[in-house]
């Protein structure tokens, strides 16, 4: 199983029946494929809908129905549309239970950098700043390193998306909880050594109480 699949499957286990969830562009989008069939999870797309359904069948795309990545999507029964002010009211107002998004860097304080590499990549923050500040639970879904370089830092070096808002970091190596006293490895991939994880993590990591990560 590749890293992205491991991560997406593990994040999906965080979702509960009735949750309103926003999945960021890229890796987080894959989470939708692994949501249990026996629970109702409502996916929000910040461009203005709740009830995001699967990708439309080829030829049935509707130019007026896209997600926040600009891709064609569908709407599930019971879903609805709203404007951008309402959409971010729902986001900022703590009505979103979980937001899942990627990271350039995430740190020991739970701060996240995900929207700009000054002088190199300036796409803009889009809705990420509001999502990270507003959602009840913030899950960062990211590969543990970027080409071997740790993404989980002592302190972020890039401009922040939000300060001290991340609750959980899910990588292909394990699951890390952000707590008052720093980062805690709470689950470890059975095939990855603790040494590997510690070496791939710049931030100090509490490793005194972890379980085996469910990988299936």
């Amino acid at each position: 199983m590749d890293a992205k699949t491991i991560i997406a499957k593990r994040v999906a286990k965080e979702l509960r029946d009735g949750d309103l969830v926003n999945l960021g562009i890229g890796l987080p989008t894959l989470v939708a494929n692994y949501i249990r069939d026996d629970i109702a999870v409502h996916l929000q797309s910040e461009n203005g809908l709740i009830g995001l359904g699967p990708t439309p069948i080829a030829g049935q795309e509707d130019a007026d129905l896209t997600n926040a990545g600009g891709q064609y999507v569908t709407l599930k029964d019971g879903g609805m549309y709203f404007d951008s002010a309402v959409s971010f009211g729902i986001i900022r107002g703590s009505h979103v239970d979980i937001t899942v998004l990627g990271a350039l860097e995430v740190d020991a304080e739970g701060s996240l950098a995900s929207w700009i590499i000054p002088g190199k990549l300036v796409p803009g923050m889009g809705g990420a700043m509001d999502l990270v500040v507003g959602a009840k639970k913030v899950i960062v879904a990211t590969t543990h390193t970027n080409k071997g370089k740790p993404k989980i830092k002592h302190r972020c070096t890039l401009p922040l998306t939000a300060k001290q808002e991340v609750d959980l970091i899910v990588t292909e190596y394990g699951v890390i909880a952000v707590r008052e006293d720093g980062l805690h490895l709470i689950e470890k991939h059975p095939d990855v050594s603790l040494k590997t994880i510690i070496e791939a993590t710049e931030a100090p990591l509490h490793t005194d109480a972890y379980k085996t990560m469910e990988v299936k």
Binding site: G48, V122, M125, G134
Partner: protein
């Protein structure tokens, strides 16, 4: 009250140097034909307020590619490399604003508020130069209301009064922009013969100054 607007009047009405809000989210819900009219008339030196920079040959990206935009206020420009290039070389000023803040600033202007206090951006570079106000121990940024000379919006349908409804996620920024500009021009796919159901109107006719009808949306 006839709200019909033709191309020629439109091109005369909008002056170079205007501040223009353009609806749409990655061009979904962007009135392409109105942008084409601006491009055709070479109306430049514009300040554009839009969720994003569109694509290189779509949405407000067409204005940027034709060198008509001096300043862009948006939440991201990632899908339009040309906007990034021009920003880098300094020929386009880009002001990046968190999407929810942008929406709220526009709504605030339309609702006659001076601004709002948002937790978004606290502790980030978005905070730079802004007042930080603490309420009950929580820090907020004071984000000022944002208005424009014109709003160019797209709706699914207008009724004879100018009431508007939108199509799915093409709604996005359009209704709030309709409240925040001196002159609001709505491009609609159709103008229906009867009044819309009063329960489902999204934008009341009093906010809409002009309606451009047409099947060709330029996409």
């Amino acid at each position: 009250m006839d709200k019909h607007l033709d191309k020629k009047t439109f091109q005369t009405m909008i002056k170079p140097g205007s501040t223009i809000m353009v609806g749409g989210f990655m061009t979904c819900g962007t009135p392409e034909i109105l942008i084409d009219w601006l491009v055709e008339a070479k109306i430049g030196n514009l300040t554009i307020i839009c969720n994003d920079a569109g694509y290189e040959n779509q949405g407000v990206g067409k204005l940027i590619a034709n060198n008509l935009v001096a300043r862009l206020v948006a939440s991201h420009i990632g899908l339009n490399p040309e906007a990034g290039r021009r920003m880098g070389e300094g020929s386009l000023t880009v002001e990046l604003v968190p999407q929810g803040t942008l929406a709220e600033q526009i709504r605030a202007y339309g609702a006659g508020l001076g601004g709002v206090l948002t937790p978004t951006g606290v502790g980030t570079i978005v905070e730079t130069g802004k007042d930080v106000i603490t309420i009950d121990g929580v820090k907020y940024l004071l984000e000022k209301a944002m208005g424009a000379d014109f709003a160019l919006i797209e709706a699914r349908e207008a009724d004879p009064y100018g009431n508007l409804v939108y199509a799915k996620t093409a709604r996005n920024f359009n209704p709030i922009m309709a409240s925040a500009a001196k002159t609001v021009i709505a491009r609609v796919k159709d103008v229906r013969a009867e009044a819309l159901d009063p329960e489902v109107v999204i934008t009341p006719h009093v906010l809409v100054d002009y309606v451009v009808e047409g099947d060709e949306d330029g996409r």
